[in-house]
C-alpha cells in the first residue's frame, strides 16, 4: 500500500491530478486507488492538497493520511508558506518537485531530509505543450519516473480525463517530464 499526497496551489489542477492518478492505477494497471478529499480549501492561489491511497488489493482504510510514502509538490514556493510537511514524512518518503532550479531541489532535500527527490520543470513543460502554466499532467509524468506507476498508464488516464484534444497535449507534457525528471 502506498500513501501519497499532492501539494500545490489552487488552479494548478491538484485535485484533477489525484483523480487522473487514481484512474491510471485502478483502470490501467488493474490496481486499486482511492482519493481522499481534502475539502474546504479550493481557492485559486491558496495552498491545496489531495491524498491518494494506492494498492494492488482492495483498500479498506477510509481516513486522512498521517504518514506518507510519497509527496508531490507542484509549487516550489511552498517551502516559504509555512506548510508543515515534515510531520507527515518518514525517512523513506520520496518527493517529486516542480522546480526550475536544482538548488531549490537540494534545499528541499536538505531542509526536510528526503532520501530521494525527483524534480522537473513541469510548468515550463506545461506552457510548451498546453500553452498554460498548469503543471499537473507533467507532474504525473514525473511521478511515473519514480516507478510507482507506468508512464503508459498515466498517458491513458490523461486521455480519459481530458478528452481527445486536450488529452494529447497533456499526455505529451507528461511523457516529456517523465524523460526529463532528475533524481538527487
Amino acid at each position: 500500500m502506498k500513501e501519497i499526497r499532492f501539494y500545490g496551489v489552487g488552479g494548478q489542477g491538484v485535485v484533477v491530478a489525484a483523480k487522473t492518478f487514481s484512474v491510471a492505477v485502478s483502470i490501467y494497471e488493474n490496481g486499486y486507488a482511492t482519493t481522499i478529499p481534502a475539502y474546504g480549501h479550493e481557492r485559486r492561489g491558496a495552498p491545496v492538497y489531495a491524498d491518494i491511497v494506492a494498492d494492488n488489493k482492495p483498500i479498506l482504510k477510509n481516513c486522512f493520511l498521517y504518514e506518507l510514502d510519497g509527496m508531490m509538490i507542484m509549487d516550489d514556493t511552498l517551502i516559504s508558506k509555512h506548510i508543515s510537511i515534515e510531520k507527515f514524512k518518514n525517512e523513506d518518503t520520496f518527493l517529486v518537485l516542480n522546480t526550475n532550479s536544482c538548488s531549490i531541489a537540494e534545499e528541499y532535500k536538505n531542509t526536510y531530509h528526503f532520501r530521494n527527490v525527483y524534480y522537473v520543470n513541469a510548468t515550463a513543460g506545461a506552457i510548451k505543450h498546453i500553452g498554460k502554466p498548469i503543471p499537473n499532467s507533467a507532474m504525473l509524468g514525473a511521478l511515473a519516473a519514480t516507478g510507482i506507476v507506468k508512464i503508459e498508464s498515466i498517458e491513458q488516464a490523461i486521455r480519459e480525463t481530458f478528452g481527445a484534444k486536450a488529452g494529447d497535449c497533456n499526455a505529451k507534457a507528461a511523457r516529456e517530464a517523465y524523460a526529463q525528471t532528475t533524481k538527487i
Binding site: 483523480k19 482511492t34 483498500i59 479498506l60 477510509n62 481516513c63 498521517y66
Partner: protein
C-alpha cells in the same frame, strides 16, 4: 467485469439512473450537491428519461417526490444535514403513506455549530420517522445498497421508504474503483415500479392522508411497525438474491473477525473500512479483536447483533453522532437494548463529529482500552475518544463575566 472510477455521489446517481427514476426533485446542499446537479445533467441530455422538477427547498423536494411516486413512478431526491432536518415533517408523510422512496442521505452534521462535514447526527435525528436506514462502508456499497433498498422498500410486505446514508466527503467525494453492472441485470433484479395499496389515479380516485381518529391511528402505526419487522427478513432475502446475481455478499450486520474475538467494536459507515484495517493490524500483533458493521440501522437488527456479539464479554460501540442528553449515542443504546439479557460490558464511544477524522490511531486506542477492560486492568473508558484536552476553553467568551 467493467470497472469504473466514481465518487459516492456519482455512484448514487448511477444507481438511481439504473433504477429508471421518472421524476426528480432534488435541492442541492453540500456535500450532496453533485447528486442534484448530475441528475439534472442526465435529464437535460436525455440519458435519463425523467421529469426534473425544480423546487425551492428540501421540504418541497420530498413533498414532490412523495406525491409523484404515489402517481405510479419511482421518484428521486437526495439531501444532507439541515436539508434532511427541513424534510423532517415530510419524512413522516412519505413513510406514513407507505411510499417506498429510496433517498441517498449524504451525512453531515446539523448546525449549529455550522459544519459542512461528516457525522451521522443528521440521519440519527430522523431514526424514528419510519424510514429504513442503510449505512455504506465504501462507494461500491453506495451503489449496491441503493439497488437493494429499492427492492426491499417496494416489497409488498414492507412498503416503507429507505435512506441510504453515505458519509459526507469520506464517501461522497472519494473516488473509488467500483463495478457497475449491465442495465439488463439491474432491470431483472428490481423490475418496474407499481404503486401498491395507496396510489393516485384519476380513473380510480382515492383519499390519501385524511384526518385519522384515535380509533384507527394506533393500528396504522402498528402496520408500519409490522412492515419494519418484516423488512429484516425481506432485506436478508434481497441480499441473498443480490449475491446470486451480482456476486457481492452483504449482511444486515457484518461480523469481521468476530468469531474468536476477545473484544468487538460495533460501528457503521465509512469508519468500518478503517476499523477493519486496524483489526487486521492488531490481529498480526496477536490481539484478538473484531468489528461488527451495522449495515442496516432501521429496522434495528437486534437478533443478528445478538448472534454476532453473544460470545463477547467486552464490546465497544462507536457513535458518529453526539446523542446529546442520552446515556450514550443512539447505536450504543440500541446495542444495549439488544443485549439486555446477555451478560456483557458495553462501552459507548463518541467521535468523528463535524468532519473530525476517525483515525486508525483512535480506533486502536479503543481496542486497547476494551482489551484492558476485558482483562480487568482498567475500569473507565474514554467515551469522547477524540476530544481535545482544552475542550471547555474553546470559544469561551470572557467579557461580561
Amino acid at each position: 467485469m467493467t470497472y469504473k472510477m466514481m465518487d459516492g455521489n456519482l455512484a448514487a446517481v448511477e444507481a438511481m439512473k439504473m433504477a429508471k427514476v421518472q421524476v426528480v426533485s432534488a435541492y442541492p446542499i453540500t456535500p450532496q450537491s453533485n447528486i442534484a446537479e448530475k441528475l439534472s445533467d442526465l435529464v437535460a441530455s436525455g440519458e435519463l428519461k425523467a421529469e426534473y422538477i425544480r423546487v425551492e427547498s428540501e421540504h418541497s423536494a420530498l413533498s414532490v417526490a412523495t406525491t409523484a411516486q404515489l402517481a405510479g413512478v419511482r421518484a428521486a431526491t437526495a439531501t444532507a444535514s439541515n436539508g434532511l432536518a427541513l424534510m423532517h415533517e415530510v419524512l413522516g408523510m412519505t413513510s406514513g403513506n407507505r411510499v417506498p422512496i429510496v433517498m441517498p442521505v449524504v451525512n453531515r452534521g446539523v448546525a449549529a455549530p455550522w459544519t459542512l462535514w461528516c457525522e451521522h447526527g443528521d440521519a440519527m435525528a430522523e431514526r424514528d420517522m419510519g424510514w429504513m436506514q442503510f449505512y455504506c462502508e465504501n462507494v461500491q456499497e453506495v451503489f449496491d445498497l441503493i439497488l437493494m433498498a429499492y427492492k426491499a422498500a417496494e416489497d409488498k410486505d414492507v412498503l416503507t421508504p429507505a435512506m441510504v446514508c453515505l458519509d459526507g466527503f469520506f464517501l461522497s467525494h472519494s473516488m473509488q474503483k467500483i463495478v457497475v453492472p449491465k442495465q439488463e441485470l439491474v432491470d431483472n433484479f428490481i423490475g418496474g415500479y407499481k404503486s401498491q395499496n395507496t396510489y393516485l389515479d384519476t380513473e380510480d380516485p382515492m383519499f390519501i392522508c385524511d384526518l385519522t381518529g384515535s380509533e384507527e391511528y394506533t393500528e396504522m402505526k402498528y402496520q408500519q411497525k409490522v412492515a419494519m419487522d418484516n423488512a429484516i427478513g425481506v432485506i436478508e432475502q434481497v441480499q441473498r438474491e443480490f449475491e446470486e446475481r451480482f456476486g457481492r455478499k452483504y449482511s444486515i450486520v457484518e461480523g469481521y473477525r468476530t468469531e474468536d474475538a476477545d473484544v468487538v467494536l460495533v460501528a457503521l459507515g465509512s469508519m468500518c473500512g478503517t476499523g477493519k484495517h486496524v483489526v487486521n493490524k492488531l490481529r498480526e500483533k496477536g490481539k484478538k479483536v473484531g468489528l461488527a458493521k451495522v449495515t442496516v440501522f432501521r429496522p434495528f437488527p437486534a437478533e443478528k447483533i445478538r448472534e454476532i456479539l453473544s460470545g463477547t464479554r467486552c464490546i465497544g460501540v462507536f457513535d458518529r453522532s453526539a446523542g446529546i442528553g442520552g446515556q450514550g449515542g443512539p447505536v450504543w443504546s440500541e446495542v444495549c437494548a439488544a443485549m439486555k439479557d446477555i451478560s456483557c460490558d458495553i462501552r459507548n464511544y463518541t467521535g468523528g463529529l463535524g468532519g473530525r477524522d476517525v483515525s486508525p490511531d483512535n480506533i486502536e486506542k479503543i481496542f486497547d482500552e476494551l482489551l484492558e477492560i476485558s482483562q480487568g486492568k482498567r475500569k473507565n473508558h474514554t467515551a469522547w475518544i477524540d476530544l481535545k484536552e482544552n475542550a471547555m476553553d474553546i470559544r469561551q467568551v470572557i467579557k461580561n463575566v
